[in-house]
Symmetry: C2
């Protein structure tokens, strides 16, 4: 029996991704988002939603670019820190002992230590409400060799990404393989 | 050392959610999506991206509504089936032995057996490329009692949602709790 629990921003799973931007002085900034997802295959695009009040919002509007750095579970504390810290005069990268690396493709920095990063050019902005949705075209993905499989593709089991659980507001690792997509659902 | 792996629609994690719609004849349809995510807290909104070629696309445009049904891992085969099947004359719910339940709030059906469902009113459509992004306002969430915690909130550990892994195109369960958000990253 289903119960109504009201109109809330809850869904399972959501990601924990770090959006990288430069401010108007060229200072690197990073902010963790969970309101985000792939939104198109061709051109490959990703969307991230930010409140106007955030420092990163202005960085995206200013540079028309952002990066998405995907933490592995060993960086869950740093990812959480990037979601908590908000002081505009704080150097978040330095406080987290992480390295801002300037993308060669777009005017935005990514987290050097994270295993997978997406370099994005702003394509669309959509005012939804409290949050503005930014759609970025993925210009390239950079990945550490140790997360690539034998075919050179990033392997989620080597990346060990972080899942954000809405509701109890906790982070999770990925668990066991449940089967191949476009295969296990074939019904005869 | 990071390697360039090109411009691809890859990110980790992505969800496996079933979008429910009615067609112009009132027939229930369901389709699994991974290009999706929460995109606003207030009003609570979720976005799902579909190709124009899908049957569900027309259903959303026609009814200006959709549902998002969140499978638990015991339904991973059914979720995969909803992503594979595409014949317009096939009754997907019947083939999957699942029940289309008419939402009382929006003209769209949800999957009765799945533990959490979101009922959404279409707010925005954005043409991104191959995919169109639909932003829906979450009018209500319905959840089975067995996934609610002692405070009445959906608990990801009881829901046991499905994660879609881009790259190797496999499904995963959620793993272990890595810590509380807005807490473990506090640096002194």
């Amino acid at each position: 029996m289903k119960q109504s629990i009201g109109a809330k921003p809850l869904a399972f799973p959501t990601p924990a991704w770090v959006v990288g931007t430069y401010d108007m002085n060229g200072k690197p900034n990073a902010m963790t988002v969970a309101w985000a997802g792939i939104c198109c295959s061709n051109p490959p695009c990703i969307s991230v939603s930010l409140r106007k009040a955030t420092y990163s919002y202005a960085g995206i509007v200013e540079n028309k670019a952002f990066t998405v750095s995907i933490p592995s579970e060993v960086f869950v504390r740093e990812a959480d820190y990037f979601g908590i810290a908000s002081r505009k005069d704080e150097n978040k990268f330095e406080c987290a002992s992480l390295t801002p690396v300037r993308s060669e493709l777009v005017p935005a920095p990514y987290v050097g230590e994270f295993p997978v990063v997406l370099e994005c050019k702003l394509l669309h902005s959509l005012e939804v409400g409290l949050h503005t949705m930014f759609v970025g075209e993925i210009m390239d993905i950079k990945a550490e060799e140790y997360v690539l499989d034998e075919n050179g593709n990033p392997d989620i089991e080597r990346i060990k990404p972080v899942i954000y659980g809405t509701g109890n507001k906790s982070y999770y690792s990925i668990g066991r393989n449940l089967g191949k997509a476009f295969y296990i659902g074939k019904m005869s």
